[in-house]
Amino acid sequence: MIGLERCAAARDSAAMAGPSAPCDPCAPVAAWKRHILRQLRHRDRTQKALFLELVPAYNHLLEKAELLAKFSEKLKSEPKDVISTPHQDSREEASGTGPDQVSSPASLKVKWQQEKKGLQLVCGEMAYQVVRKSAALNTLQSQLEERQGRLEALQACVVQLQEARAQQSRQLEERQAENSAQREAYETLREQAAHQEAALRRLQEEARDLLEQLVQRKARAAAERNLRNERRERANQARVSQELKKAAKRTVSISEIPNTLEDGTKEETVALGPAAKPEFLESDSCEKWKRPYRSASATSLTLSRCVDVVKGLLDFKKRRGHSVGGVSEQRYQSIPVCVSAQIPSQAQDVLDAHLSEVNAVCFAPNSSLLATGGADRLIHLWNVVGGRLEANQTLEGAGGSITSVDFDPSGSQVLAATYNQAAQLWKVGETQSKETLSGHKDKVTAAKFKLTRHQAVTGSRDRTVKEWDLGRAYCSRTINVLSYCNDVVCGDHIIISGHNDQKIRFWDSRGPHCIQVIPVQGRVTSLNLSHDQLHLLSCSRDNTLKVIDLRISNIRQVFRADGFKCSSDWTKAVFSPDRSYALVGSSNGTLYIWDVNTGKLETSLQGPHCTAVNAVAWCFSGNHVVSVDQVRKVVLWH
């Protein structure tokens, strides 16, 4: 109400101010605006207090009116059931009072009808409300039912859960019981474990003590055994020395036996053969003492000397590279060693040794015996005496042209390869062949003794290399190669073969496969192994000699010379025994010697050979060289 009035006031003032506004547009406008505003505020302040009481009072009235309205509504709804009685009453009243209120019946009737209408309206409204309420009731009832249903379900659930809970609590109890039982069991077990651990500790201590005792006893046993060994050794030594003394005494009376050993000879070599060896050892106490001597000290001199000789011979460590063998082996116990070789300078002796071509030549380890093999199927043995060759013996029985001869390291046997598809073995001193190693299917080109006893290796043009057990004349192994084999050599446990396909192949006696292949340019005609087995000399048809270092398995040097021509597939080249020189014969009969250390051609020797030199040999003492050629000649060089 205040707002309205204010509004009106504002409108009035605005209407009043309206016309004056255009006449004073600028500052005066602001001034009167402010003025009006001030006035208005002032009026607001002064009149607001008057209305402040009025507002709550009015609000109160409004509330009351509302209350009354509600009340009256209630009253309107009540008359429905009493509608008839008041109706009659009112009719009676109307009839009764008719006379009293004559003027009013019509108005009463109107009033009554109005009332009736109002009541009917109210009644309809009520009926509608009843319908609505009943509908609401229905929904509520259905909700209630639903709730009850849910409640029942929930109760059932509760029952179930309670049951489950009971069950679980039972289980829990059981478990607890179980647990406690197990706990008890565990406790007992733990106790037992503690006991047993203690027992174990005790036992371990005991074991340690026992072990210590055992070790002590073993130590004592070892000491005892050592002592016994020593005693035994001493006894043996005492006996030996007694025997020696006895022997010495005995020999005093025998002084006429001729000298059996030539001590002073320069040519004495180390080549004590395996056959000679045991006799030598066995006889040291007997025969040795038979030689004349001057005094007792002389005797012991020879004794110790012979001992030293044997020791020197058999020095275990002298030779290196004894790698292994799969076969039981006996090595030759003496290998000649050359300190320095002399380069030959002149031909000392020239012989027509064979009826035709001479293919092979070889010195015995003692350097005084020479073997030559020729196409006439004969092997001649020669003594090298005083710069001359003296015929010693002829070995017969070869089935074909001889291609290679070899002495065994003891010098007592000769092995030759022949065109007759076999290798044959002779004993020095017997003219007839002792064994024939047959099995190859083509010409045998090389046959060499191994350094272990009773073993040999042959190479053949049937593309195989065979190992032989000479004790049983039996081929112990056959190696198949792809190419003709022209030469083989053997190290301690290595077999090296030279082939027509320009390759040198290495075979280990332990393994089945080729362990290495070294290609050279040209067909390999010969191989020669140095005495320390560290270097290999090969000769090939490209007119070169090659030195292969076996430690690094590589070609170390290549020797060539103007005029040197490799004449055939079986031209043989050799190292000097001290490995300082390499020697080979050329197709024009000249010998070429290279210095291995410098790699230079040392010398070339022209001499009695008119045709190609097939093979050369350098004796182990280093001072003789022999060459053989294609027309029967054997030449000894010094």
Partner: protein, 229 residues
């Protein structure tokens, strides 16, 4: 285990007793004994090797050797009866520490064994060789190097050329063998026989006990040795 140990002990003792009995009644003429010790890491097969040589077969099962086991075998070499006394030593340090000096006393040859399938056993060879050097008075005792278990071809870790190089630098011959594989049976035998041969020819007479003779004569013996080339 305990029984095994006992039995092995018993064997070694009984055999030693037998030997002592024999030696008590004067040893047979010319029967020499060569004491050969077999050393190397534990579990490389020392026991098996020696067992193979002396009993001719591969042992069914073996325990770690404690201290030392003695095995003997008499062999005939060039008509001479020779007893090879193998000392199968313990590889484990704790079983051998107090015994080392006994091992090396008056030994005639030393066999170093490594396991070809175990690089570590090969790498510890220098320490064995060092121990050997420390305990040996003489330098010229034959020594050989044996690679065992060569039958396990697929598991081999130590290549032959490496072993050969090593053997060369220590100037020992190298043998690769297997105590187990029957095909290599005579191989084991061959190794020891080779060694026996070497030993037999190495010191034909024991003159170490007659030093006076030897020393007085030495200067005169020299020329004889030098002219043998």
């Amino acid at each position: 285990m305990a029984s095994e140990m006992e039995s092995s002990l018993e064997v070694s003792f009984s055999s030693s007793c037998a030997v002592s009995g024999a030696s008590g009644c004067l040893p047979p003429a010319r029967s020499r004994i060569f004491k050969i010790i077999v050393i190397g890491d534990s579990n490389v097969g020392k026991t098996c090797l020696t067992y193979r040589f002396c009993a001719g077969r591969f042992p069914d099962r073996t325990e770690a050797t404690i201290g030392v086991d003695f095995r003997e075998r008499a062999v005939d070499i060039d008509g001479e009866r020779i007893k090879i006394q193998l000392w199968d030593t313990a590889g484990q340090e704790r079983f051998r520490k107090s015994m080392v000096q006994h091992y090396y006393r008056n030994v005639h040859a030393v066999v170093f064994v490594y396991d070809m399938t175990n690089m570590a056993s090969f790498h510890s060879l220098p320490s064995w060789i060092e121990e050997c050097k420390q305990h040996l008075l003489a330098n010229d005792i034959p020594r050989i190097l044996v690679g065992n278990k060569c039958d396990l071809r697929s598991a081999i870790q130590v290549p032959t050329d490496l072993a050969q190089k090593f053997a060369d630098t220590h100037s020992m011959p190298l043998f690769e063998t297997s105590a187990k594989n029957p095909n290599d049976n005579d191989h084991v035998e061959a190794i020891f026989m080779t060694l026996a041969h070497k030993l037999k020819s190495h010191k034909p007479l024991m003159l170490s006990q007659l030093p006076d003779n030897r020393i007085s004569l030495k200067p005169e013996t020299k020329p004889a040795v030098t002219c043998w080339c």
